[in-house]
Amino acid sequence: MKEFDTRVHYLSEGLSTVDKDRDVPTLEAIYREYHDFVWRTLQRMGIRDADLHDVAHEVFLVVDRRLSSYDPSARLSAWLFGIALRVASGYRRKAYRRYEKLVDAPESASSRLEHDEQRGVEERRRMLASLLDTLDAEHRAVLVMYEIDGLSCESIAQEIGVPIGTVYSRLNRARRKLVRSAKRLESRASKEPAR
């Protein structure tokens, strides 16, 4: 019977299902407070600007579907981070299956990389985007939050709802992979004949 109450509520009010007895926030309330968090989280996970609206929309659709199972004792940002992670990971997998580059990748290592420190800002931006794409969405987000957005590890731990040791661990792994990938790229470039 509860299911029908829920469905009737949905139809008559045009709202997401809410169990008022459990004090679960409404979709509107979550959007009001966390729309920017979701937006930035998706960027940190590698969703490109052109697709942010669609992917963010999908995140909130999932939020709407799962709101009735949300445990109010859990941190909401952590719950949202988990949903965004699943949606973003699915998006990135689909993009790769369609052979769609998540960012514009330069044609060859030597055209991307030079030892000249005066390379264009745009080329460096593309290079960094390519390197970040070697990370999975979760590690990418933690690394971007720390290295680019400048958040402290304590803030990151709080936002995504994991112990600070987990943040250190993920950050360490992401940094090692990023540095390794960059070195590989530079090494390849230095071996290619100059054009």
Partner: protein, 252 residues
Amino acid sequence: MSRPPLRLRDPGSEASPLLRACLTEAAPSRSMTPDEVVRLQAALPSGGTLARSTFPARRGWTFAAALALVFAGTTFAYEWFEREPSPAEDTAKEISIPVVETALPAEEPRGASAPSTRVDRPETPAADDIPSRASTTRSSPRRPDALRVPAEAPEDDPLTREIAILRRAQASMASSPSDALRLVQRHGREFPSGQLIVERELLAIEALVRSNRLAAARARAARFEAEPGREAYAPRLRSILEGAVEVPVSAP
């Protein structure tokens, strides 16, 4: 690691000078613009995509109506599943349902990568075209998993099935508006006089917009608005159509 590491862009880190330069120049993740906030909010379910149905707003009547539907649906479903009707019998039963779905406008010319869709016409379909429980897999083309709605359980009523199909359409909207449109069309075939016609139409219009079939979207929106009693949906419709010019097209 028990304390925060030196940031890679800082001198002395394990990053190469080039990587340090990349990280130093990197733009931090950006906040939403006001326009993006409004646009995304309008697209939310509570913003009206699965908007108010044709049920009256009063809860008591709505609940009673839903209960009646459940009872009728359960009784019907029980009878349906307790016997094994022949395909011909299925078809005969289905033929009596009048088709009232509005015809989709003709397809706009699109690139080769876009999937083709057939145009539905408002006429009584031939027997073989009507999907029935026994003939769904026989007469329909094989559908990808995303479009398959779980088989109807005996306790499901038609309204639950309608909701299931339209929820799937809504969930597919962002990643595959063409799938969303196919689901909407399926709803139209299976529930030509369903309870959620309004929601179906709004989803169809949104799917057309997202597929960059803007002329078709506007035409369908115009037909939608022409129906009596749809004034309340004008803001929602405007929001969907205003998004038309901003729908990003992923580069191949």
